[in-house]
Amino acid sequence: MNRMRVKGLMRKEVYEIVRDPSSIAIAFVLPLVLLLIFGYGVSLDARSVPVAEVVEQPTYLTASFLSELDHSPWFHPARYPDQASAEQAMMQGRVQAILWLRSDFSRRSLSSGETPIHLTINGVDANQARIIQNYVNGTWQTWLQQQATLQGQPLAVPVVADVRIWFNPALTSRDYLIPGLIAIIMTLIGALLTALVVAREWERGTMEGIMVTPVAKTEILLGKLVPYFVMGMGGMMLSTAMAVFLFHVPLRGSLTVLIGSAALFLLTALGMGLAISVLARSQFVAAMVAIVTTFLPAFILSGFLFDIRSMPQAIQVLTHIVAARYFVATLQSSFLAGDLWSVIVPNLLGLAVLCIVFLGLSVLRFRKRLD
């Protein structure tokens, strides 16, 4: 390893970055825009769900139940004269759920009990449907308690589940989605940038000129890695700052741990890009492979949106080679829970293994040769 050579290669890379606006755009503008779009665009918190209310015979009882619904922030109710027209509205996507109180609602609930409240949900978006189901259920339970207290006879509820949610009591999805998004964005940037810049050197013929100098292959790879690492860390800091100051995600862990794990992750992502470009050599193929192997896998297989434990066994195994998986877990702990070594250590180990694999693959497969 020769200092002057590595420094020379790095200086060249920095000039190229600074003078080619497209790499600056990828490193800084892209995370900014993506985080803004994702931060605002990705949310699982259903608010103001349009609900159709069909009340066949309004009474004070139906009114008290519905007013509970009307005052809930989750719902945006609208009255429909009958079930048929409400279902029509659901078909057209104007309402997501229908609450149907039959004409005998008040009479039966005062005498015999067991009066049905019919809830019909559009089940297409199963997740959303389940959330709505829970909301309605919660609202109904509250109403039951109120009614019972009003009538002076406590409600017979044998077991009450007191649910407490740690780390994110309000279940604000943004608080856990944003750390996950940072992981996805950094995968993209890290892998895409390096995949493109190395392949570009092959295509422009600059690599052939460099190869016939006494430079060692590790020096060439290092000269690529370090500048983009620094730039990627810049993008990472920008994203973290946005998460904390713009989206108000609490940062409970220490900045040191965050930076440390980000550094390891970025190294892995860059290593992946390097490995792709070393294996592909053509810019077009490298970019294709980078796109296919970064964004969608990080989006779907990292556990950021979909629970990994619920996936079929074979796919769970597959998620172990998705670097974002480890970083998502670390980031979510770092931001929401604090420095939990029991989470951070195994995940960082996973990252380290991947990092060694990718960088090792690049070093092994990179030849100072054309054949």
Partner: protein, 372 residues
């Protein structure tokens, strides 16, 4: 006229041959979409299976064991271990060995037997709030069922009302039925954009574009010749993926096939239009790829593929109106699950046609300006 048609036809044949004879682009077009559909189709599910939980049971009675057994027996939950103090609960949640902890107080059985409400504390890991929210729903429904059986056994008065819910279109709330049609849309978009977004840039780099420009073909014919392969490849790929959704993933197809295909064509019109616009702007393939990519990522996120558009802030919802995938996902899900047809999809068709038309005209103008 005959010459014109033959010329465009020759260009289309050439584009398809260039795509399919080149092993690299053939691999990119056929392999990844199918693999992605299968992997993501299985991976992307909001159903929870095997939620690990620990139990801290301080109660000695029969009933608490019965409640725990209900949880342990449910397919969604996996009992990891019993713990014997509060700190162990904390540890299990913190290091993510359990997503949930049940903390049953010492008086659980006696409270129940005395007719007093018995409390059970459920702790959920909120770091993954979507999983936590879903798990919370599962907990509620298990507890509700437990209560019902208790009420039956003890003959206490049931609550005056019951909530009867049913889900239309997807009675078992299988999220795969929701996700797989979504993936159909994403992959169709990806393939058609890659086919059109890079085609002009590739010819520019190889120098064949000049060769085309010196022929008697007017720019409109070249543009048409570039647009049609995107349609053909997109339709073929879309058909393949839809067939896989139906026969591999067994997502029910309840709507009208014609309605879906009109939607597919409108969608491809928009996607190809955007692809051509990128194409006419990009000088190099790298720029083209970046352009495709910069469009694809937000288009997927803002389409309502995984998270509903209704949850987005109003301003962002307006932006989604420009996203062709948004409309196509409605058509896809509508025709798969909701039994929708042409009449119902009309509000989705025309925005797609508008987007496509505007992009095509813009691409044509940019194209001509580039040449000038």
């Amino acid at each position: 006229m005959r010459t014109r048609i033959l010329r465009v036809f020759a260009l289309v044949v050439k584009e398809l041959l260039a795509l399919l004879r080149d092993p690299a682009s053939r691999a990119v077009l056929i392999g990844p979409p199918i693999i992605q559909l299968i992997v993501f189709g299985y991976a992307a599910t909001f159903e929870l299976k095997h939620v690990p939980f620990v139990v801290y049971n301080q109660d000695q009675g029969q009933l608490s064991r019965e409640l725990v057994a209900r949880f342990a027996g449910a397919p969604s939950f996996d009992l990891v271990q019993f713990v014997y103090d509060q700190s162990a609960v904390k540890k299990a949640i913190n290091n993510k060995s359990a997503l949930m902890a049940m903390d049953i107080g010492p008086n659980f059985t006696s409270d129940l037997e005395r007719g007093q409400p018995a409390h059970v504390q459920i702790v959920l890991d909120g770091r993954d709030s979507n999983t936590a929210a879903i798990a919370m729903g599962y907990v509620q429904s298990i507890v509700t069922h437990f209560n019902e059986s208790q009420v039956l056994q003890h003959g206490t008065k049931p609550p005056p009302t019951v909530l009867l819910d049913r889900a239309l279109f997807n009675p078992n709330l299988d999220s795969r039925w929701f996700i797989v049609p979504g993936i159909c849309g994403i992959l169709t978009l990806l393939v058609s954009m890659l086919t059109t977004g890079l085609s002009v840039a590739r010819e520019r780099e190889m120098g064949t574009f000049d060769q085309l420009l010196v022929t008697p073909m007017p720019p409109t014919e070249i543009l048409l010749g570039k647009a049609l392969p995107g349609f053909l490849v997109g339709t073929a790929e879309g058909t393949l993926i839809v067939l896989m959704a139906i026969f591999w993933f067994h997502v029910p197809f309840t709507g009208s096939l014609i309605g879906l295909y009109i939607g597919l064509l409108c969608f491809l019109f928009a996607a190809v239009g955007i692809g051509l616009m990128i194409s006419s702007l990009a000088v190099t393939q790298q720029q083209g790829l970046l352009g495709v990519f910069l469009f694809m990522v937000p288009a997927i996120v803002l389409s309502g593929f995984a998270t509903p558009i209704a949850n987005m802030p109003q301003a962002v919802q307006y932006i989604t109106l420009l996203d062709p995938l948004r409309y196509f996902l409605i058509v896809l899900r509508g025709s798969f699950l909701e039994g929708g047809g042409i009449a119902l999809f009309w509000p989705q068709y025309w925005p797609l046609l508008m987007i496509g038309l505007i992009c095509m005209v813009a691409a044509g103008n940019l194209f001509r300006k580039r040449l000038a």
